[in-house]
Symmetry: C2
Subunit: 242 residues, 2 copies
DNA sequence: CGCAACAAAATTGTTCACAATCTTGCCGAC
DNA sequence: GTCGGCAAGATTGTGAACAATTTTGTTGCG
């Protein structure tokens, strides 16, 4: 995600007096194309826009205060990411995940998370994981027992962020990101399944122990086992999750 | 990788006489947006358009006979795939791979090809691989000895196609495709490195033997080893490949 | 000769009008 | 009452004109 963002003088297009059609009604301040893309990605990932919903060009154009052609460009990007489907002359709808695809996403995620765990272990000094070992032994255990699942999930995402950063593999990170934006809802629903968080916590402690030892191969193996176990929960409670 | 590419007549933009905007000069028959996208993807993958080259909207618009707004949409899709970079008011250029990224692509490809080999072994009956075992024992060996590298590569891609089809994992297949379209040239250059094809052939035979035995775990392990070995060649002959 | 300022050309970005296509609701025939 | 057209409305697709910006070329000064 290149952050060379910008420059771009903030001045607003001079006076542009246009007498008729006076000031634009811009519902929310002007947004650049990239921003619109990110916002829509997030909305789809969170299912603020539910699967199957239709996206209308004009509507979005007015909401974000950008030209309709720009919305079309954003649609192209969303389509190439597989988040929406476009049918000629019929518009764009949010893609619906089918079961087979969710399993495939989990299979791919298994090997990618394994890769990141291994590379993180190889790249970072073993001691650097100590704080996470402690965190998962104490605080995370407590969050789980007191039922604070939101903060538990936040802790888990922090773990993933640390591993991803240490692995230093932008390609893999980006691919997992694209899996996340499709399955975020599913993943969160699995965590709150009966017994899943407890099992997951044990598995994560095992992964962290291997990383703390500097055993990269074992960290990869355990992380993959962890993902397979999550997939097994998905299969078992399929009807509740999808 | 669809090769419907097309050549594209080399003639230069016709007379462009259009006095009163008469019949459209369509250089090549009308093309849909998706087709334009595929063609440009192929051109970039083959380096018909070299890294760093600038893509001009009007030029492409005229060549394909599609509106410029459509070219812009295609650019958005190419950008989201990481094939081009767009700088505001400066246009679009084909992204240049840096060394670190190529290594990362190989690391990811290692685990994904491993996944496909495993799932292919799990899904297809062991006997179904016999013809490939034979092919890699005989014909491929001969192609190598007689130096017919193009056909050797074609045989290798046939192997990949078979495995991918059997694995039946569209998500993984698509991700590997996106890796291919960025590294196709590099991959082909590695194959023609001294000794690489010979080693690769031996490794592929081992993978196929495991698949023929129905040993999915071993097939995955061997395929990953094969990819690591290819990456090692890349590291060794780096300066000749990039 | 170098170089800075300016002018011209090329290119990208935006806007709008309209055409093509699909959707919806209505009306009548059976 | 149901079904099949048919017209009106909504939505997407196209193309050109226009505006903004960058690039290129030129001129004149030191």
């Amino acid at each position: 995600m290149s952050d060379k963002v910008v420059t771009m003088p903030a001045r607003k297009r001079s006076a542009s007096r246009t007498p008729a059609r006076a000031a634009r009604p811009r519902v929310s301040g002007k947004a650049r194309g990239v921003e619109v893309l990110q916002i829509l990605r997030a909305r789809i990932a969170n299912q603020d826009i539910p699967p199957g919903a239709k996206l209308k060009e004009q509507e979005l154009s007015e909401e974000f205060g950008v030209p309709r052609t720009r919305i079309r460009e954003v649609f192209s990007a969303l389509e190439s990411r597989g988040l929406i489907e476009r049918i000629p002359n019929r518009g764009a709808v949010v893609t619906r995940l089918d079961l087979a695809q969710v399993y495939q996403l989990y299979d791919v995620r298994e090997v990618l998370e394994g890769l990141l765990a291994r590379q993180a272990t190889e790249n970072a000094p073993a001691e650097s994981w100590q704080d996470l070992v402690d965190f998962f032994a104490g605080p995370m255990q407590r969050l789980l027992e007191s039922g604070e699942l939101d903060r538990y999930i936040a802790g888990y995402e922090m773990f993933r962020a640390r591993v991803t950063a240490a692995a230093d593999n932008a390609v893999a990170a980006q691919m997992i990101d694209s899996i996340f934006e499709k399955t975020k809802v599913v993943i969160h629903r699995i965590i709150i399944l009966p017994g899943r968080a407890e099992v997951g916590l044990v598995e994560h402690r095992a992964v962290l122990a291997a990383m703390r030892r500097g055993d990269a191969a074992e960290a990869e193996r355990l992380r993959r086992a962890n993902m397979r176990s999550a997939k097994a929960y998905l299969q078992r409670y399929q009807k509740f999750v999808l």
